[in-house]
Amino acid sequence: MGILNKLDAHIEPFESGNILITSADKLLNWSRLNSMWQMFFGLACCAIEMMATSASHYDLDRFGIIPRPSPRHIDIILISGTVTLKMATRIKRLWEQMPEPKYCISMGSCANCGGPYWEHGYHVLKGVDRIIPVDVYVPGCPPRPEALLEGLIKLQEKIRTQSLAKKVN
Protein backbone atom coordinates (compact mmCIF):
# COMPACT_ATOMS: atom_id res chain seq x y z
CA MET A 1 0.00 0.00 0.00
CA GLY A 2 1.35 3.36 -0.92
CA ILE A 3 0.95 5.18 2.36
CA LEU A 4 0.53 2.22 4.62
CA ASN A 5 3.73 0.62 3.40
CA LYS A 6 5.63 3.72 4.37
CA LEU A 7 4.00 3.57 7.78
CA ASP A 8 5.25 0.03 8.13
CA ALA A 9 8.79 1.13 7.69
CA HIS A 10 8.85 4.27 9.78
CA ILE A 11 6.41 3.95 12.62
CA GLU A 12 6.39 1.60 15.52
CA PRO A 13 3.39 -0.71 15.46
CA PHE A 14 0.42 0.84 17.17
CA GLU A 15 -0.77 -1.11 20.12
CA SER A 16 -4.28 0.22 19.95
CA GLY A 17 -6.15 2.88 18.02
CA ASN A 18 -6.35 6.41 19.33
CA ILE A 19 -8.63 9.19 18.11
CA LEU A 20 -6.35 10.24 15.30
CA ILE A 21 -5.85 6.73 14.03
CA THR A 22 -9.48 5.75 14.20
CA SER A 23 -10.60 8.88 12.37
CA ALA A 24 -8.02 8.30 9.69
CA ASP A 25 -9.12 4.69 9.57
CA LYS A 26 -12.68 5.70 9.00
CA LEU A 27 -11.78 8.03 6.16
CA LEU A 28 -9.45 5.58 4.45
CA ASN A 29 -11.86 2.70 4.84
CA TRP A 30 -14.69 4.83 3.55
CA SER A 31 -12.72 5.62 0.43
CA ARG A 32 -11.67 2.02 -0.14
CA LEU A 33 -15.09 0.55 0.29
CA ASN A 34 -16.76 3.08 -1.92
CA SER A 35 -14.38 2.78 -4.78
CA MET A 36 -13.79 -0.89 -5.41
CA TRP A 37 -12.67 -1.13 -8.97
CA GLN A 38 -13.26 -4.53 -10.38
CA MET A 39 -11.46 -6.67 -12.91
CA PHE A 40 -12.96 -6.87 -16.39
CA PHE A 41 -12.50 -10.59 -16.36
CA GLY A 42 -14.76 -13.60 -16.45
CA LEU A 43 -14.14 -17.29 -16.29
CA ALA A 44 -17.33 -19.24 -16.89
CA CYS A 45 -21.08 -19.19 -16.36
CA CYS A 46 -20.87 -16.86 -13.38
CA ALA A 47 -19.18 -14.28 -15.60
CA ILE A 48 -22.46 -13.86 -17.46
CA GLU A 49 -24.24 -13.13 -14.19
CA MET A 50 -21.43 -10.79 -13.26
CA MET A 51 -21.93 -8.97 -16.57
CA ALA A 52 -25.66 -8.85 -15.93
CA THR A 53 -24.96 -7.38 -12.51
CA SER A 54 -22.77 -4.65 -13.86
CA ALA A 55 -25.18 -3.88 -16.71
CA SER A 56 -28.02 -1.41 -16.55
CA HIS A 57 -30.56 -3.52 -14.70
CA TYR A 58 -28.53 -3.95 -11.51
CA ASP A 59 -25.72 -1.47 -12.12
CA LEU A 60 -22.62 -2.00 -10.02
CA ASP A 61 -21.57 1.56 -10.81
CA ARG A 62 -23.95 2.70 -8.05
CA PHE A 63 -21.47 1.35 -5.52
CA GLY A 64 -18.55 2.98 -7.29
CA ILE A 65 -17.52 -0.30 -8.87
CA ILE A 66 -16.28 0.06 -12.43
CA PRO A 67 -14.59 -2.60 -14.53
CA ARG A 68 -10.99 -1.96 -15.49
CA PRO A 69 -9.12 -4.18 -17.94
CA SER A 70 -5.71 -4.12 -16.31
CA PRO A 71 -4.84 -5.90 -13.04
CA ARG A 72 -2.76 -2.89 -12.00
CA HIS A 73 -5.77 -0.62 -11.72
CA ILE A 74 -8.06 -2.75 -9.66
CA ASP A 75 -8.95 -3.38 -6.05
CA ILE A 76 -11.13 -6.45 -6.16
CA ILE A 77 -11.01 -9.51 -8.34
CA LEU A 78 -14.17 -11.53 -8.84
CA ILE A 79 -13.31 -15.15 -9.50
CA SER A 80 -16.42 -15.81 -11.51
CA GLY A 81 -16.50 -19.44 -12.44
CA THR A 82 -14.67 -22.71 -12.55
CA VAL A 83 -10.94 -22.51 -12.02
CA THR A 84 -9.16 -25.18 -13.99
CA LEU A 85 -5.66 -26.35 -13.35
CA LYS A 86 -4.48 -24.74 -16.56
CA MET A 87 -6.01 -21.41 -15.53
CA ALA A 88 -4.96 -21.60 -11.88
CA THR A 89 -1.39 -20.46 -12.47
CA ARG A 90 -2.67 -17.50 -14.49
CA ILE A 91 -5.09 -16.47 -11.77
CA LYS A 92 -2.34 -16.64 -9.22
CA ARG A 93 -0.25 -14.40 -11.41
CA LEU A 94 -3.08 -11.91 -11.86
CA TRP A 95 -3.48 -11.81 -8.11
CA GLU A 96 0.21 -11.11 -7.69
CA GLN A 97 0.05 -8.31 -10.25
CA MET A 98 -2.66 -6.47 -8.35
CA PRO A 99 -1.37 -3.67 -6.13
CA GLU A 100 -2.23 -3.71 -2.43
CA PRO A 101 -4.75 -3.27 -0.86
CA LYS A 102 -6.58 -5.98 -2.76
CA TYR A 103 -9.58 -8.14 -2.12
CA CYS A 104 -10.97 -11.26 -3.68
CA ILE A 105 -14.54 -12.45 -4.02
CA SER A 106 -15.08 -16.04 -4.96
CA MET A 107 -18.29 -16.13 -6.93
CA GLY A 108 -20.24 -19.32 -7.39
CA SER A 109 -19.90 -22.86 -6.20
CA CYS A 110 -17.16 -23.76 -8.65
CA ALA A 111 -14.82 -21.12 -7.34
CA ASN A 112 -15.81 -21.89 -3.76
CA CYS A 113 -15.28 -25.60 -3.75
CA GLY A 114 -15.42 -27.09 -7.24
CA GLY A 115 -19.20 -27.02 -7.46
CA PRO A 116 -20.73 -29.72 -9.63
CA TYR A 117 -17.27 -30.71 -10.78
CA TRP A 118 -16.00 -31.63 -7.33
CA GLU A 119 -15.97 -35.38 -7.79
CA HIS A 120 -14.91 -36.28 -11.29
CA GLY A 121 -13.29 -33.06 -12.43
CA TYR A 122 -9.79 -34.22 -13.08
CA HIS A 123 -8.87 -30.81 -14.46
CA VAL A 124 -10.78 -28.60 -12.04
CA LEU A 125 -9.27 -26.90 -9.04
CA LYS A 126 -11.56 -27.60 -6.10
CA GLY A 127 -11.85 -24.09 -4.80
CA VAL A 128 -9.89 -21.00 -5.71
CA ASP A 129 -8.86 -20.59 -2.07
CA ARG A 130 -6.30 -23.29 -2.67
CA ILE A 131 -4.20 -20.78 -4.58
CA ILE A 132 -5.22 -17.26 -3.49
CA PRO A 133 -6.77 -15.85 -0.32
CA VAL A 134 -10.50 -15.20 -0.56
CA ASP A 135 -12.38 -12.53 1.38
CA VAL A 136 -15.97 -13.31 0.58
CA TYR A 137 -17.58 -16.46 -0.76
CA VAL A 138 -20.80 -16.06 -2.71
CA PRO A 139 -22.69 -19.35 -3.01
CA GLY A 140 -24.93 -20.29 -5.88
CA CYS A 141 -24.66 -21.93 -9.25
CA PRO A 142 -24.61 -19.29 -10.57
CA PRO A 143 -25.38 -16.75 -7.83
CA ARG A 144 -28.14 -14.35 -8.72
CA PRO A 145 -27.10 -10.71 -9.14
CA GLU A 146 -28.73 -9.95 -5.81
CA ALA A 147 -26.50 -12.55 -4.19
CA LEU A 148 -23.43 -11.01 -5.77
CA LEU A 149 -24.46 -7.56 -4.54
CA GLU A 150 -24.92 -9.02 -1.08
CA GLY A 151 -21.41 -10.42 -1.31
CA LEU A 152 -20.05 -7.03 -2.27
CA ILE A 153 -21.84 -5.42 0.66
CA LYS A 154 -20.36 -8.06 2.95
CA LEU A 155 -16.94 -7.15 1.60
CA GLN A 156 -17.66 -3.49 2.32
CA GLU A 157 -18.52 -4.46 5.87
CA LYS A 158 -15.24 -6.28 6.13
CA ILE A 159 -13.29 -3.30 4.85
CA ARG A 160 -15.11 -1.04 7.29
CA THR A 161 -13.64 -2.95 10.22
CA GLN A 162 -10.06 -2.80 8.98
CA SER A 163 -7.68 -0.54 10.79
CA LEU A 164 -4.23 0.94 10.41
CA ALA A 165 -3.40 -0.31 13.88
CA LYS A 166 -4.22 -3.88 13.05
CA LYS A 167 -2.64 -3.65 9.68
CA VAL A 168 0.81 -2.97 11.10
CA ASN A 169 0.83 -6.02 13.30
Partner: protein, 351 residues
Protein backbone atom coordinates in the same frame (compact mmCIF):
# COMPACT_ATOMS: atom_id res chain seq x y z
CA UNK B 1 -5.79 41.72 -13.37
CA UNK B 2 -2.07 41.88 -13.85
CA UNK B 3 -2.14 45.50 -12.94
CA UNK B 4 -4.35 44.95 -9.93
CA UNK B 5 -2.08 42.29 -8.55
CA UNK B 6 0.99 44.33 -9.25
CA UNK B 7 -0.51 47.27 -7.38
CA UNK B 8 -1.54 45.14 -4.46
CA UNK B 9 1.69 43.31 -3.91
CA UNK B 10 4.06 45.65 -5.60
CA UNK B 11 6.24 42.80 -6.64
CA UNK B 12 6.58 41.23 -10.09
CA UNK B 13 7.57 37.83 -8.67
CA UNK B 14 4.62 37.47 -6.31
CA UNK B 15 2.27 38.43 -9.08
CA UNK B 16 3.76 35.75 -11.32
CA UNK B 17 3.35 33.20 -8.59
CA UNK B 18 -0.26 34.06 -7.85
CA UNK B 19 -1.50 34.13 -11.43
CA UNK B 20 -1.31 30.35 -12.07
CA UNK B 21 -2.94 29.30 -8.80
CA UNK B 22 -6.53 29.56 -10.02
CA UNK B 23 -5.45 27.68 -13.12
CA UNK B 24 -4.10 24.75 -11.12
CA UNK B 25 -7.18 24.72 -8.97
CA UNK B 26 -9.40 24.78 -12.00
CA UNK B 27 -7.55 21.95 -13.76
CA UNK B 28 -7.59 19.65 -10.75
CA UNK B 29 -11.21 20.28 -9.88
CA UNK B 30 -12.24 20.02 -13.50
CA UNK B 31 -10.38 16.76 -14.07
CA UNK B 32 -11.86 15.22 -10.94
CA UNK B 33 -15.38 16.22 -11.76
CA UNK B 34 -15.05 15.44 -15.44
CA UNK B 35 -14.51 11.84 -14.37
CA UNK B 36 -17.70 11.96 -12.38
CA UNK B 37 -19.52 13.73 -15.19
CA UNK B 38 -18.38 11.05 -17.58
CA UNK B 39 -19.76 8.38 -15.30
CA UNK B 40 -23.00 10.19 -14.66
CA UNK B 41 -23.60 11.11 -18.29
CA UNK B 42 -22.79 7.61 -19.49
CA UNK B 43 -25.12 6.26 -16.81
CA UNK B 44 -27.87 8.54 -18.02
CA UNK B 45 -27.33 7.41 -21.60
CA UNK B 46 -27.38 3.76 -20.58
CA UNK B 47 -30.55 3.90 -18.47
CA UNK B 48 -28.89 3.36 -15.13
CA UNK B 49 -28.41 5.54 -12.06
CA UNK B 50 -24.62 5.74 -11.94
CA UNK B 51 -22.70 6.39 -8.70
CA UNK B 52 -25.17 7.27 -5.97
CA UNK B 53 -23.90 5.80 -2.74
CA UNK B 54 -21.61 8.56 -1.49
CA UNK B 55 -22.50 12.22 -1.33
CA UNK B 56 -26.19 11.77 -1.82
CA UNK B 57 -27.99 10.69 -4.94
CA UNK B 58 -25.66 12.61 -7.22
CA UNK B 59 -22.60 10.80 -5.92
CA UNK B 60 -20.58 14.01 -5.71
CA UNK B 61 -18.10 12.46 -3.29
CA UNK B 62 -17.46 9.45 -5.51
CA UNK B 63 -14.38 11.03 -7.05
CA UNK B 64 -13.08 11.98 -3.65
CA UNK B 65 -13.37 8.37 -2.56
CA UNK B 66 -11.67 7.26 -5.77
CA UNK B 67 -8.83 9.70 -5.29
CA UNK B 68 -8.29 8.76 -1.64
CA UNK B 69 -8.36 5.10 -2.49
CA UNK B 70 -5.87 5.53 -5.31
CA UNK B 71 -3.59 7.38 -2.91
CA UNK B 72 -3.51 4.30 -0.73
CA UNK B 73 -2.59 1.99 -3.56
CA UNK B 74 0.78 0.37 -3.76
CA UNK B 75 3.23 1.75 -6.28
CA UNK B 76 4.27 -1.07 -8.54
CA UNK B 77 7.42 -1.20 -10.57
CA UNK B 78 7.00 -3.84 -13.26
CA UNK B 79 9.62 -6.48 -13.73
CA UNK B 80 12.64 -5.14 -15.63
CA UNK B 81 11.06 -1.77 -16.20
CA UNK B 82 13.18 1.32 -16.68
CA UNK B 83 12.82 2.90 -13.26
CA UNK B 84 13.62 6.49 -14.11
CA UNK B 85 11.57 6.78 -17.28
CA UNK B 86 8.74 4.79 -15.76
CA UNK B 87 8.39 7.16 -12.85
CA UNK B 88 8.89 10.37 -14.78
CA UNK B 89 6.51 9.62 -17.65
CA UNK B 90 3.18 10.38 -15.92
CA UNK B 91 4.47 13.75 -14.81
CA UNK B 92 5.69 14.63 -18.27
CA UNK B 93 2.29 13.78 -19.70
CA UNK B 94 0.48 15.85 -17.11
CA UNK B 95 2.90 18.75 -17.34
CA UNK B 96 2.54 18.93 -21.09
CA UNK B 97 -1.19 19.25 -20.76
CA UNK B 98 -1.00 21.72 -17.92
CA UNK B 99 1.42 23.99 -19.79
CA UNK B 100 -1.19 24.37 -22.49
CA UNK B 101 -3.49 26.08 -20.01
CA UNK B 102 -1.08 28.99 -19.67
CA UNK B 103 -2.36 30.78 -22.73
CA UNK B 104 -6.05 29.99 -22.49
CA UNK B 105 -7.97 33.24 -21.97
CA UNK B 106 -10.70 32.67 -19.42
CA UNK B 107 -11.80 36.27 -19.42
CA UNK B 108 -10.71 39.66 -20.64
CA UNK B 109 -9.03 40.16 -17.27
CA UNK B 110 -7.61 36.71 -16.76
CA UNK B 111 -5.19 34.74 -18.85
CA UNK B 112 -2.10 32.91 -17.63
CA UNK B 113 0.25 34.71 -19.96
CA UNK B 114 -0.87 36.71 -22.93
CA UNK B 115 1.82 35.51 -25.30
CA UNK B 116 1.86 37.11 -28.70
CA UNK B 117 2.50 33.67 -30.19
CA UNK B 118 -0.04 31.99 -27.92
CA UNK B 119 -1.55 29.60 -30.42
CA UNK B 120 1.84 28.49 -31.66
CA UNK B 121 2.92 27.92 -28.08
CA UNK B 122 -0.15 25.80 -27.41
CA UNK B 123 0.54 23.45 -30.29
CA UNK B 124 4.14 23.21 -29.26
CA UNK B 125 3.63 22.34 -25.60
CA UNK B 126 0.76 19.94 -25.98
CA UNK B 127 3.06 17.73 -28.03
CA UNK B 128 5.23 17.30 -24.95
CA UNK B 129 2.75 14.83 -23.57
CA UNK B 130 3.52 12.55 -26.54
CA UNK B 131 7.04 12.23 -25.22
CA UNK B 132 5.64 11.24 -21.88
CA UNK B 133 3.43 8.62 -23.49
CA UNK B 134 6.33 7.19 -25.42
CA UNK B 135 8.48 7.14 -22.28
CA UNK B 136 5.80 5.43 -20.26
CA UNK B 137 5.01 2.89 -22.93
CA UNK B 138 8.62 2.00 -23.48
CA UNK B 139 9.62 1.95 -19.83
CA UNK B 140 6.75 -0.29 -18.75
CA UNK B 141 8.37 -3.29 -20.43
CA UNK B 142 5.02 -4.47 -21.66
CA UNK B 143 4.15 -5.09 -25.28
CA UNK B 144 0.64 -3.69 -24.96
CA UNK B 145 2.04 -0.48 -23.50
CA UNK B 146 4.57 -0.30 -26.27
CA UNK B 147 1.85 -0.65 -28.87
CA UNK B 148 -0.17 2.00 -27.11
CA UNK B 149 2.69 4.46 -27.08
CA UNK B 150 3.59 3.81 -30.70
CA UNK B 151 0.00 4.38 -31.72
CA UNK B 152 -0.13 7.52 -29.63
CA UNK B 153 2.89 8.98 -31.35
CA UNK B 154 1.63 8.17 -34.83
CA UNK B 155 -1.79 9.56 -34.03
CA UNK B 156 -0.86 12.79 -32.34
CA UNK B 157 1.90 13.68 -34.75
CA UNK B 158 -0.47 13.19 -37.69
CA UNK B 159 -3.35 15.06 -36.16
CA UNK B 160 -1.19 18.06 -35.34
CA UNK B 161 -1.32 18.91 -39.03
CA UNK B 162 -5.07 19.28 -39.58
CA UNK B 163 -5.33 20.99 -36.19
CA UNK B 164 -2.78 23.57 -37.20
CA UNK B 165 -4.22 23.97 -40.68
CA UNK B 166 -7.73 24.51 -39.40
CA UNK B 167 -6.51 27.03 -36.86
CA UNK B 168 -4.55 28.81 -39.55
CA UNK B 169 -7.77 30.06 -41.14
CA UNK B 170 -8.60 32.07 -38.07
CA UNK B 171 -5.04 33.30 -37.86
CA UNK B 172 -5.27 34.55 -41.41
CA UNK B 173 -8.54 36.34 -40.77
CA UNK B 174 -7.43 37.80 -37.45
CA UNK B 175 -3.86 38.54 -38.36
CA UNK B 176 -2.57 37.56 -34.92
CA UNK B 177 -1.46 34.56 -32.88
CA UNK B 178 -2.39 35.93 -29.48
CA UNK B 179 -5.25 34.12 -27.84
CA UNK B 180 -6.50 37.23 -26.08
CA UNK B 181 -6.60 39.09 -29.41
CA UNK B 182 -8.73 36.37 -30.99
CA UNK B 183 -11.31 36.79 -28.28
CA UNK B 184 -11.26 40.55 -28.44
CA UNK B 185 -11.74 40.53 -32.20
CA UNK B 186 -14.94 38.54 -31.92
CA UNK B 187 -16.75 41.20 -29.90
CA UNK B 188 -20.23 42.30 -30.82
CA UNK B 189 -22.29 39.14 -30.72
CA UNK B 190 -22.63 35.79 -32.34
CA UNK B 191 -22.49 37.14 -35.91
CA UNK B 192 -18.91 38.24 -35.37
CA UNK B 193 -17.59 34.90 -34.19
CA UNK B 194 -15.06 33.34 -36.47
CA UNK B 195 -17.28 30.35 -37.08
CA UNK B 196 -19.59 32.92 -38.72
CA UNK B 197 -16.72 34.38 -40.71
CA UNK B 198 -15.50 36.84 -38.11
CA UNK B 199 -16.19 40.55 -38.06
CA UNK B 200 -16.72 41.95 -41.51
CA UNK B 201 -19.21 43.12 -44.10
CA UNK B 202 -21.80 41.19 -46.05
CA UNK B 203 -19.20 39.61 -48.28
CA UNK B 204 -18.14 37.28 -45.47
CA UNK B 205 -21.24 35.16 -46.17
CA UNK B 206 -19.19 33.33 -48.77
CA UNK B 207 -16.74 31.96 -46.26
CA UNK B 208 -19.22 30.93 -43.56
CA UNK B 209 -19.54 27.32 -44.78
CA UNK B 210 -15.78 27.05 -44.98
CA UNK B 211 -15.30 28.38 -41.50
CA UNK B 212 -17.90 25.94 -40.15
CA UNK B 213 -16.00 23.16 -41.88
CA UNK B 214 -12.76 24.40 -40.39
CA UNK B 215 -14.31 24.43 -36.93
CA UNK B 216 -15.50 20.86 -37.43
CA UNK B 217 -12.07 19.75 -38.57
CA UNK B 218 -10.50 21.41 -35.57
CA UNK B 219 -12.97 19.68 -33.29
CA UNK B 220 -12.37 16.26 -34.85
CA UNK B 221 -8.64 16.51 -34.79
CA UNK B 222 -8.50 17.83 -31.26
CA UNK B 223 -10.69 14.90 -30.31
CA UNK B 224 -7.92 12.73 -31.65
CA UNK B 225 -5.30 14.70 -29.77
CA UNK B 226 -7.16 14.18 -26.54
CA UNK B 227 -7.35 10.43 -27.26
CA UNK B 228 -11.10 10.29 -27.00
CA UNK B 229 -13.41 7.80 -28.71
CA UNK B 230 -13.73 7.26 -31.65
CA UNK B 231 -9.98 7.94 -31.73
CA UNK B 232 -8.98 6.27 -28.48
CA UNK B 233 -6.85 3.60 -30.10
CA UNK B 234 -4.09 4.52 -27.67
CA UNK B 235 -5.89 2.86 -24.81
CA UNK B 236 -8.39 0.73 -26.74
CA UNK B 237 -9.32 -1.71 -24.06
CA UNK B 238 -10.67 -4.36 -26.41
CA UNK B 239 -7.39 -4.53 -28.34
CA UNK B 240 -4.42 -3.44 -26.30
CA UNK B 241 -6.10 -3.58 -22.90
CA UNK B 242 -5.28 -0.15 -21.53
CA UNK B 243 -2.41 0.93 -23.69
CA UNK B 244 0.12 3.26 -22.17
CA UNK B 245 -1.07 3.23 -18.60
CA UNK B 246 -1.55 -0.52 -18.49
CA UNK B 247 1.24 -1.06 -16.00
CA UNK B 248 0.69 2.04 -13.90
CA UNK B 249 -1.02 1.73 -10.56
CA UNK B 250 -2.38 4.19 -8.07
CA UNK B 251 -1.50 7.84 -8.40
CA UNK B 252 0.63 7.38 -11.48
CA UNK B 253 -2.38 6.08 -13.34
CA UNK B 254 -4.34 9.03 -12.02
CA UNK B 255 -1.83 11.37 -13.63
CA UNK B 256 -2.56 9.82 -17.00
CA UNK B 257 -6.28 10.07 -16.44
CA UNK B 258 -6.01 13.66 -15.25
CA UNK B 259 -3.96 14.52 -18.30
CA UNK B 260 -6.63 13.07 -20.57
CA UNK B 261 -9.46 14.97 -18.93
CA UNK B 262 -7.48 18.19 -18.61
CA UNK B 263 -6.59 17.90 -22.27
CA UNK B 264 -10.30 17.70 -23.07
CA UNK B 265 -10.94 21.11 -21.62
CA UNK B 266 -7.74 22.60 -23.02
CA UNK B 267 -8.61 21.67 -26.60
CA UNK B 268 -12.21 22.79 -26.10
CA UNK B 269 -10.86 26.08 -24.80
CA UNK B 270 -8.78 26.58 -27.92
CA UNK B 271 -11.72 25.66 -30.11
CA UNK B 272 -13.94 28.11 -28.27
CA UNK B 273 -11.37 30.87 -28.44
CA UNK B 274 -10.70 30.41 -32.12
CA UNK B 275 -14.17 29.86 -33.48
CA UNK B 276 -16.83 30.42 -30.86
CA UNK B 277 -16.10 33.86 -29.54
CA UNK B 278 -13.88 32.98 -26.60
CA UNK B 279 -15.18 34.71 -23.52
CA UNK B 280 -17.49 36.99 -25.53
CA UNK B 281 -21.18 36.90 -24.80
CA UNK B 282 -23.20 35.75 -27.81
CA UNK B 283 -25.40 38.84 -27.42
CA UNK B 284 -22.50 41.23 -27.74
CA UNK B 285 -23.04 44.54 -26.00
CA UNK B 286 -26.79 44.46 -26.46
CA UNK B 287 -27.09 43.20 -22.90
CA UNK B 288 -24.11 44.83 -21.17
CA UNK B 289 -24.69 42.93 -17.94
CA UNK B 290 -23.81 39.68 -19.71
CA UNK B 291 -20.50 40.98 -20.91
CA UNK B 292 -18.87 42.02 -17.65
CA UNK B 293 -15.44 40.44 -16.94
CA UNK B 294 -16.89 38.02 -14.38
CA UNK B 295 -19.68 36.91 -16.69
CA UNK B 296 -17.00 36.28 -19.29
CA UNK B 297 -15.61 33.52 -17.08
CA UNK B 298 -19.01 31.92 -17.10
CA UNK B 299 -19.36 32.24 -20.84
CA UNK B 300 -15.95 30.78 -21.53
CA UNK B 301 -16.22 27.88 -19.11
CA UNK B 302 -19.78 27.23 -20.19
CA UNK B 303 -18.83 27.02 -23.84
CA UNK B 304 -15.83 24.84 -22.98
CA UNK B 305 -17.94 22.49 -20.90
CA UNK B 306 -20.41 22.19 -23.75
CA UNK B 307 -17.70 20.82 -26.03
CA UNK B 308 -16.47 18.55 -23.25
CA UNK B 309 -20.01 17.26 -22.99
CA UNK B 310 -20.08 16.62 -26.72
CA UNK B 311 -16.86 14.64 -26.37
CA UNK B 312 -18.35 12.50 -23.62
CA UNK B 313 -21.51 12.06 -25.64
CA UNK B 314 -19.52 10.85 -28.63
CA UNK B 315 -17.51 8.48 -26.53
CA UNK B 316 -20.55 6.62 -25.30
CA UNK B 317 -22.17 6.48 -28.71
CA UNK B 318 -19.56 5.62 -31.30
CA UNK B 319 -17.38 2.58 -31.88
CA UNK B 320 -13.67 3.01 -32.26
CA UNK B 321 -11.74 3.43 -35.51
CA UNK B 322 -8.95 1.12 -36.48
CA UNK B 323 -5.43 2.47 -36.49
CA UNK B 324 -5.05 2.63 -40.28
CA UNK B 325 -8.52 4.09 -40.76
CA UNK B 326 -7.53 6.78 -38.30
CA UNK B 327 -4.56 7.66 -40.47
CA UNK B 328 -6.66 7.52 -43.63
CA UNK B 329 -9.14 9.94 -42.12
CA UNK B 330 -6.35 12.31 -41.28
CA UNK B 331 -4.26 12.19 -44.44
CA UNK B 332 -6.92 11.53 -47.04
CA UNK B 333 -9.77 13.69 -45.81
CA UNK B 334 -8.93 16.18 -43.10
CA UNK B 335 -5.67 17.52 -44.50
CA UNK B 336 -6.82 17.99 -48.11
CA UNK B 337 -10.07 19.58 -47.01
CA UNK B 338 -8.32 21.96 -44.66
CA UNK B 339 -5.89 22.88 -47.44
CA UNK B 340 -8.83 23.73 -49.68
CA UNK B 341 -10.35 25.83 -46.94
CA UNK B 342 -7.09 27.71 -46.46
CA UNK B 343 -6.96 28.35 -50.18
CA UNK B 344 -10.50 29.73 -50.19
CA UNK B 345 -9.91 31.94 -47.18
CA UNK B 346 -6.70 33.22 -48.67
CA UNK B 347 -8.44 33.97 -51.91
CA UNK B 348 -11.19 35.79 -50.03
CA UNK B 349 -8.67 37.86 -48.14
CA UNK B 350 -6.79 38.86 -51.28
CA UNK B 351 -9.96 39.83 -53.09
Amino acid sequence: MDKFLLDTFGNELIKDLIIPIPLFAFVVVFALYAVLAERKISAFMQNRPGPNRVGGRTGVLQVVADALKLLQKEMVLPFRADKLLYNVAPFVVFTGTLLGYAIIPFSSIYVGVDLNIGLFYFFAVTSISVIGMLMGGWASNNKYSLYGSMRSVAQIVSYEIPTALAALNVVMLAGTLSMQKFSELQAGGIQNWFVMGGPGGLSKVIIIPFMVAAALILFISTLAEANRTPFDIVEADSEIVAGVHLEYAGMQMVMFMFAEYAQMFAVSGVLVTLFFGGWQSPFGDAIPFLNTPWMQFAWFIGKGLFFVFVMIWLRWTLPRLRVDQLMHLCWKYLIPISLVIIFVIGFYLVV
